[in-house]
């Protein structure tokens, strides 16, 4: 599935520039009218602790001491990655429930979602959540704003440039120019729509080196789906051919009469 539009948009996340203010979390809730939730202090300033049906993005507070900085904190934006080859869309059985906007965002239509939760299993990043009505919820790159030429709520309020929205190619180029060691998501899963400028290995930031759609889903898509058509077609064709060439079973008695 390479539906990459030429003017594909993206968000560039640069963790080292993030100050952990969580303006992005607040702006997201505000624009998308998502209620706050009561959470318990778990000993970390990270709050809410993870993505939730009403929390499309969070800043992960990750304490990763380095040789030069024994109290280094990394603030990493966690959200839908808007994969080009999206596992959620691949496994989803309901047409239009998850769809690609012309900007390349993976958006969702609650009315078309049937609540099967297969997208949760298909997502390589554990992003989709289900609300009380059993409908999918996740970051949709503010598809309603970007369709009008605005930028997403989260990047709009980011005071440091840790979150930047723009043309995907331009963002990739600027991240490379700035000399980051690893541009995460440049080619993974057909190219992510949330790209990350990392100074070190993705593992340090809590991301898998090579994110991928589960092998079983790829096998199902590439092999089992065609086989389901070939199998039915073959069985029906086999029956017709048998009937035409060999014909119905006849007993001697039937022949005589």
């Amino acid at each position: 599935m390479t539906t990459t539009p030429k003017n594909r948009k993206a968000i560039l996340v640069t963790p080292e520039v993030c100050i952990g203010c969580r303006g992005c979390q607040t702006a997201c809730k505000s624009w998308n009218q998502l209620p706050g939730i009561h959470t318990m202090n778990s000993g970390s300033p990270q709050n809410p602790p993870d993505l939730a049906p009403n929390t499309y993005n969070i800043i992960r507070y990750s304490e990763v001491p380095s040789e030069t900085n024994p109290v280094r904190w990394l603030f990493i934006s966690r959200r839908c990655m808007h994969c080009d080859d999206a596992g959620c869309m691949k496994i989803c059985p309901a047409p239009g429930a998850l769809y690609k906007t012309k900007e390349g965002a993976v958006a969702f239509d609650r009315d078309k979602c049937i609540g099967c939760k297969l997208c949760v299993a298909g997502c390589p990043f554990d992003v989709p959540r289900y609300d009380q009505d059993n409908k999918v919820q996740k970051c949709h790159l503010c598809f309603d704003r970007i369709a009008e030429g605005l930028q997403p709520a989260c990047t709009k309020v980011c005071p440091t440039g840790a979150l930047r929205y723009g043309g995907r190619d331009e963002l990739l180029e600027s991240a490379k120019k700035a000399g980051y060691a690893k541009i995460y998501g440049e080619a993974d899963l057909g190219g992510l729509g949330s790209i990350f400028a990392f100074k070190e290995a993705p593992k340090i930031y809590g991301y898998a080196d090579k994110p991928h759609i589960p092998e079983s889903v790829v096998f199902w898509h590439n092999v089992l789906k065609p086989l389901a058509v070939i199998g039915l077609g073959g069985a029906v064709a086999g029956a017709l051919i048998h009937y035409a060439l060999i014909g119905p079973h006849k007993d001697e008695e039937v022949k005589k009469s």
Partner: protein
């Protein structure tokens, strides 16, 4: 009027119809989900309705599958040398003229193997279906269930059309069992001599 023998009880006939209808409904809706066929909305209105139809037809199918165990399992697992000879000659399905098949009991070898396949694939597709439907929060389990569900689906979409063809067009005279449950004794003596001997009508 020729003498008739009862091959299927009323319960068997009804249960087979329940299974047939639910199974075909599941296959149709299954293809709808597999390929995101928007055209299914003509039949079901929305994918939410289709999901309910698929899930509850699955419940009916599962119940019906368990009922078949009492009807066919004992017979299907009693395989003898005759069955092996039957397999070697392909049941005579591939020959044009009349063939001398090994003597069969109430079910022929093909029917026994078909039943065992339906039972195994049916249990697999039912268990995986309920897992996808009910159990959430176990990613690996959902992925395995999804795979098993689709593998078993392929067995059904190949096996069911073949079963329907063999029970109707390919073997005139067999379909009446699904309606009346009876067959002419003459026909039964030829097709199921071992069973007729068992019930003392040979």
């Amino acid at each position: 009027m020729s003498e008739m023998v009862r091959k299927a009880s009323t319960e068997e006939i009804i249960n087979h119809w329940i299974m047939a209808v639910s199974c075909i409904l599941l296959i149709i809706t299954g293809y709808g989900f597999l390929f995101q066929l928007k055209q299914m909305n003509i039949l079901f209105g929305s994918f939410n309705v289709m999901r309910a139809v698929h899930n509850w037809a699955g419940v009916v199918f599962t119940a019906s599958l368990f009922a078949t165990i009492f009807n066919y399992l004992h017979e299907s697992i009693s395989l003898s040398k005759d069955d092996w000879n039957w397999i070697k000659m392909g049941g005579g399905y591939l020959s044009k003229g009349p063939v001398k098949a090994p003597p069969m009991g109430k079910l022929n070898t093909g029917q026994k193997l078909y039943y065992l396949m339906v039972l195994a694939a049916g249990l697999a597709i039912a268990a995986s279906g309920f897992s996808i439907w009910i159990i959430h929060g176990h990613r690996t389990l959902t992925l395995v269930s999804h795979l098993v569900h689709n593998l078993a689906f392929i067995l059904f979409v190949v096996g069911v059309p073949a079963h329907i063809y063999l029970g109707t067009l390919a073997n005139p005279g067999t379909f009446r069992i699904m309606i009346y449950g009876t067959v002419p004794a003459e026909f039964a003596r030829k097709k199921y001599p071992k069973w007729m001997k068992e019930i003392g009508k040979l």
